[in-house]
């Protein structure tokens, strides 16, 4: 570095976005004694944010008094269902008794408007400053180094040694400043969701849940969202149910049906309709999800700036897992520590911040992304089989296997087998497909 830029402000670090990644970074840095300012575009943290969803809390529990956090229900049961367009459902349900005990496998349904506000408040209590209703529009650079941000406020320039970019899936600032490219549309999903309100007792009866226990239900197949790469979800909150669909923007762009229409159809499926009938829709929402896996991760570390959370593409979608909250928090945590270490040495250059990337690569975050990196590509390649042929074949096989008629069970079994083999392309095809998807459960 030639000369020290003029940082004109009292802050050591500016955090762009007070979502999960941003508030974690701010909290971590503030606890390390840094002067931190978080800039959030919404009227309060969380008002612009949408997820399914289940908040995964291993790190949040270490950083906060999570018992005080506004939350809805813990996940006591997960279900995975294949839905065919004809109306078949084939499903699996997992409810280990340990999930009912603290810490509930670190899996809690929350509502983001409540949770994100509380979480940002924890950073503020640790000493961070929060400004809302302010959008960062660009980064200020000097000699290739990031030295501050531009905002949409009058005299909206703010300078500081470090900037943490925690702006989520629509990373306009990182893109405008040339720190990353816009993702291709086959690496991003569109998601729409509605929150429906029910009488609490009715909701608990309907989903066989009690106390704080809740259900996380996942749906695949062309009965969930047409023949697009994607699926549907349903999560129980205290008094509301969140129901939605997530699918590739590549597919959405080609389908004349708009995402709200796809959600309407999902709700009509015989496996879903009884779960969502009645009640009242209290909110409709939409959000993008980056799901390009390890190949679409941008450079995380720059001179004077780091990128965290969804802005860094840190979402795992493996078909079985949809995780972004834990990865956002984990990346904010490692980034916050790296920034504090670098500033303690009076440095802001890329080399001094490298421990962020190293620690993230050593953590489960990048490990998981790499382990499941194959999934989205394979799912796109095998779209017709996975989302079309398989759910139908499973429905027909179930029908055949349990058939009540005057023929022996032997015949039922071979009919069931033949439905599956038709879908897979015979034994050889089945073996090939099993091989392709072998890593799904490993």
């Amino acid at each position: 570095m030639s000369e020290t830029p003029n940082y004109d402000s009292e802050y050591d670090a500016i955090v762009v976005g007070a979502g999960l990644a941003g508030s974690t970074a701010a909290l971590t840095m503030a606890r390390d004694g840094l002067d931190v300012i978080m800039i959030e575009r919404g009227p309060s943290p969380g008002t612009k944010n949408v997820f399914g969803g289940v908040l995964y809390t291993p790190r949040i529990r270490e950083l906060t008094d999570f018992d005080d956090a506004p939350k809805e229900r813990y996940v006591a049961k997960k279900t995975y269902s294949m839905l065919s367009e004809e109306g078949d459902e084939t499903s699996m349900s997992i409810a280990p008794s340990s999930w009912r005990e603290e810490p509930h496998n670190n899996s809690w349904m929350v509502l983001r408007a409540d949770f994100d506000e509380w979480f940002a408040e924890q950073a503020v209590e640790a000493g961070a400053m929060l400004v809302t209703e302010t959008t960062v529009t660009d980064l200020i650079k000097e000699n290739g180094e990031v030295v501050g941000v531009e905002t949409d406020r009058p005299d909206g320039e703010l300078r500081a040694p470090m900037v943490v970019l925690a702006e989520g899936a629509n990373s306009l600032v990182s893109e405008a400043a040339g720190l990353k490219d816009r993702d291709d549309r086959d690496n991003v999903a569109v998601s729409v969701k509605e929150v429906r309100k029910y009488d609490r007792e009715k909701l608990e009866d309907r989903f066989h849940i009690d106390g704080d226990a809740g259900l996380a239900a996942h749906y695949f197949g062309d009965g969930a969202c047409g023949d697009a790469v994607g699926g549907g979800f349903l999560y129980t909150n205290k008094r509301t149910v969140s129901i939605g669909v997530v699918y590739s923007i590549e597919d959405a762009a080609h389908d004349k049906k708009t995402p709200d229409e796809v959600l309407e159809e999902f709700k009509q499926h015989p496996a879903v309709a009884p779960l969502v009938r009645g009640g009242r829709m209290v909110e409709y929402s939409a959000h993008a999800i980056p799901e390009g896996g390890p190949d679409s991760m941008p450079e995380l570390v720059h001179d004077g700036a780091v990128i965290v959370g969804d802005a860094a593409g840190l979402v795992l979608n493996s078909g079985v897992h949809l995780e972004g909250t834990n990865m956002a928090v984990e990346s904010g945590y490692h980034a916050g520590r790296a920034v504090a270490d670098a500033l303690a040495q009076g440095r802001t250059d890329e080399a001094a911040l490298a421990s962020y990337e190293t620690n993230l690569r050593d953590s489960y975050v990048v490990e998981n992304l790499e382990h499941y990196g194959w999934f989205m590509d394979t799912a796109a390649e095998e779209k017709e089989f996975l989302f079309d042929d398989l759910p139908r074949a499973l429905g027909r096989a179930g029908d055949a296997y349990f058939k009540m008629d005057n023929t022996p069970k032997d015949e039922h079994v071979s009919e069931a087998k033949s439905h599956i083999l038709d879908a897979t392309g015979g034994w050889l095809g089945a073996a090939k497909k099993a091989w392709k998807f072998r890593k799904m459960l490993s």
């Binding site: 080609h254 709200d260 015989p270 309709a273 939409a286």
Partner: protein
């Protein structure tokens, strides 16, 4: 894509919510000025026939028009960003509404 829903007996009838009903549940504050635009009208007119922005938008913001250039009801926008990715010609001009305006979720 998927055809009409199956007619399976003993399935409750779920009332379809129109996009207007959906958007009615959303709280907005209007910045008074569109944060969305097309970059080059000629690209919509000449290069694009599919209206992929219209197909992908979950809030009926983008609307197909005779001349080939979609109109934009920016007040409906849920700020999901989908159109930004969906346009195959990178022709969507997209900013956040200024100073916290736009959508504001109560649940999220």
């Amino acid at each position: 894509m998927s055809t009409a829903k199956p007619n399976v007996p003993d399935t409750p009838e779920i009332e379809r919510e129109s996009i207007e009903d959906r958007l009615y549940t959303v709280k907005y504050s209007d910045s008074g000025e569109s944060h969305l635009d097309v970059k080059v009208e000629g690209i919509c007119e000449e290069k694009c026939t599919n209206y992929e922005c219209v197909n992908a938008c979950p809030a009926d913001v983008w609307r197909a028009e005779e001349g080939g250039v979609p109109t934009i009801a920016y007040e409906n926008c849920l700020e999901c960003g989908t159109c930004r990715f969906a346009c195959p010609h990178g022709n969507v001009e997209w900013e956040y509404p200024e100073t916290g305006n736009g959508v504001s979720y109560k649940f999220g």
